[in-house]
């Protein structure tokens, strides 16, 4: 019996050590260099001309995150992500379909995001900006996503495209970042909005 108790203690110690190794990531924020903190369980809007490069850097930093990447028409190049040090094994991609009407294409994208968030297995989701015909519907959709993201403790990144460089700037968006090319060919990040720090 004392042997069993001893074994149980060892097992507990091992569990704690494994927990310490896995639990290096905070449950509230993702900390990045330059004291930038990306909140978990929130919607983040990215604008600017270096958004994907910055996202690659983010996913390189947090290699163990499960990521769901959805686009109506699949344009991201996985080869480029891998070249920038992103772990593709953790990525699940979805092409939700670019239908003739923009609203139904947005609905399908929203449906995919909602399903992925409900599963509560992805820590990050990436999707293009959502646009709806009327602002009330858009706000309702974003609010639903915000609630689901909060429940799943997942961060949803909305990224721009060449033709749609700006997002909706609706109030459920917790943070807006402008990411552009710096003069030294690096990346400069400007916080345009951060609800947690009162920057609006």
């Amino acid at each position: 019996m004392p042997k069993l108790v001893c074994l149980q203690q060892h097992l507990q110690q091992l569990r704690e050590k494994i927990g310490a190794l896995q639990g290096g990531v905070s449950r509230d924020v993702f900390s990045l260099p330059d004291s930038l903190e990306i909140p978990r369980g929130a919607l983040i809007e990215l604008t600017g001309d270096r958004t994907l490069e910055w996202l690659c850097g983010f996913f390189r930093e947090y290699r163990a995150l499960n990521v769901f990447w959805a686009e109506p028409e699949f344009t991201v190049l996985p080869t480029a992500l891998a070249q920038r040090g992103v772990n593709l094994d953790r990525f699940l991609f979805a092409e939700t379909g670019s239908l003739s009407s923009q609203s139904s294409s947005q609905e399908r994208l929203f449906k995919a995001l909602r399903l992925a968030l409900r599963g509560q297995v992805f820590e990050c989701l990436v999707a293009p900006h959502l646009f709806f015909a009327n602002s009330l519907e858009e706000e309702k959709t974003l609010k639903a996503l915000q609630l689901l993201a909060e429940k799943a403790n997942a961060t949803v990144f909305f990224i721009p495209s060449f033709d749609e460089p700006r997002g909706s700037a609706a109030w459920p968006i917790a943070m807006r970042l402008k990411i552009s090319r710096a003069s030294d060919d690096g990346i400069s990040v400007t916080v345009l909005k951060d609800k947690t720090r009162g920057i609006a």
């Binding site: 920038r84 094994d89 449906k111 599963g119 992805f122 990224i159």
Partner: protein, 435 residues
């Protein structure tokens, strides 16, 4: 050598054809050494698994499994016992004890061969004769002189004595069935004609199906569902079948049910069932190897993977088979051929692209004709000023595909993301963005 510990489960009434085999298949999770007696008893040797679970844990887990198979709903009680000898386990499961003084003479029919039901009429005659002699228990039987048994009761009497004394038997082989299938007949009063009742009955069937798969160390990748409707003359389609080809292997009913719900909801809205369902049947068409590790030992990674597989399969069901995928790299310089969608259950190839090819654009689009002047690029009816050009990268095409040689160059614009353009004999084309 480990001492034998044999668990025996005895069912109060004979089970339906092959039902015991299906339950035994689910019991393979405890031990590969399993034996069946007729349609009423199952033996599991758990001595070799004692480092994995204790006898108490076994009993608790067996109770959970028994609940999944719904014996209680059919008023079938199950007696269980764990002993060192198969014969003692059987007697204890059947009569609650294996002590000879407490066992009636009827128990001799079990003693003759615990793994096989006696088909000889002489066994019954022997028991009647012993009772006529005033014997009441197995202890009385054991008190008879052994040398008198063959002359009075033949070989059977001697065998019973030997088995009670030594208890050694050859363990028969149990081979599970090739096809894993679960079905259920539904009565009229069960009113199964819409989605919710269908899902209700499906859950218990899937629980059993997954218990059997778990016993074999397998996970589900493809499932066939079949509904048979009442055969009225007005019913045009009496059988409905669905084939669920899951993106990633599934190990529990909770992961598969949302996928079934999604498909049935869509299909039954389009084509409602014309009558009540009288039979549900689920057949496993394809499987994948199950988890090797013990669940929840150090971490919950297996559960997390299970959940992830379920979400991925649900997304695939909702968006379309080709629309949800994982990506793997391919050693090819042509950008559109430098990656591919992974087939189901396929692992990605370990390819390191560092310093192998120049940096590729983050977005790749269908080639779009553009005009490039000295320091300006024109596309989508707008002009952009070029700030800087990279060196040219020449990519030779596959002659089989009929593609031409392309000269790629990166253009950094004064404002906006950098462009990735190529030039061939037809002019300049935009193919990507460095966003």
């Amino acid at each position: 050598m480990n001492p034998l510990r044999i668990a025996c489960l005895w069912f109060s009434s004979p089970l339906e054809a092959d039902e015991l085999e299906r339950f035994a298949e689910a019991c393979l999770r405890f031990s590969p050494q399993i034996a069946l007696r007729a349609r009423q008893t199952i033996f599991i040797e758990i001595g070799k698994s004692r480092t994995l679970f204790s006898e108490e844990t076994f009993i608790q887990r067996a109770q959970v499994l028994l609940r999944k198979f719904g014996f209680r709903e059919r008023n079938i009680t199950v007696g269980g016992a764990v002993r060192s000898r198969a014969i003692d386990a059987l007697l204890a499961a059947r009569y609650g004890t294996h002590l000879p003084e407490a066992l009636p003479l009827d128990a001799l029919s079990l003693v003759l061969d615990p793994f096989k039901e006696s088909e000889l009429p002489t066994t019954e005659k022997m028991i009647t004769a012993l009772q006529a002699l005033g014997l009441r228990s197995l202890r009385d039987f054991m008190s008879l002189p052994p040398h008198e048994l063959p002359s009075r009761f033949g070989a059977e009497g001697r065998l019973c004595r030997l088995h009670l004394e030594r208890g050694e038997f050859t363990w028969p082989t149990f081979v599970p069935r090739e096809v894993i299938e679960e079905s259920r007949e539904l009565a009229d009063d069960e009113q199964c004609g819409t989605l919710e009742p269908l899902l209700f009955y499906t859950k218990s069937l899937l629980d059993r199906l997954f218990a059997r798969l778990h016993g074999r160390g397998l996970r589900l990748t493809r499932l066939q569902a079949r509904f048979e409707l009442e055969r009225f003359s007005t019913v045009r389609k009496p059988v409905h079948e669905w084939d669920f080809d899951l993106m990633l292997p599934q190990g529990s009913a909770t992961g598969v049910l949302p996928i079934l719900r999604e498909r049935w909801d869509r299909d039954l809205q389009r084509e409602p069932l014309e009558a009540l369902v009288i039979r549900l049947r689920f057949t496993v068409l394809e499987t994948a190897m199950g988890y090797e590790g013990q669940r929840n030992f150090f971490h919950a990674r297996e559960d997390q993977t299970e959940k992830m597989n379920s979400v991925a399969s649900h997304l695939r069901e909702s968006l379309g088979a080709e629309k949800v995928f994982r990506a793997s790299l391919v050693e090819d310089r042509i950008p559109e051929k430098s990656w591919r969608k992974l087939e189901k259950n396929e692992k990605s190839a370990a390819i390191d692209l560092t310093d192998q090819i120049p940096l590729r654009p983050t977005r790749l689009v269908q080639p779009e004709a553009i005009q490039i002047a000295a320091d300006e690029v024109t596309f989508r009816r707008r002009r952009w000023r070029i700030e800087r050009r990279s060196e040219v990268e020449r990519i030779s095409a596959h002659w089989l595909d009929g593609l031409q040689v392309r000269n790629y160059v990166r253009l950094d614009l004064e404002r906006g993301p950098s462009l990735w353009v190529f030039e061939d004999s037809n002019g300049f084309f935009l193919q990507g963005f460095f966003e």
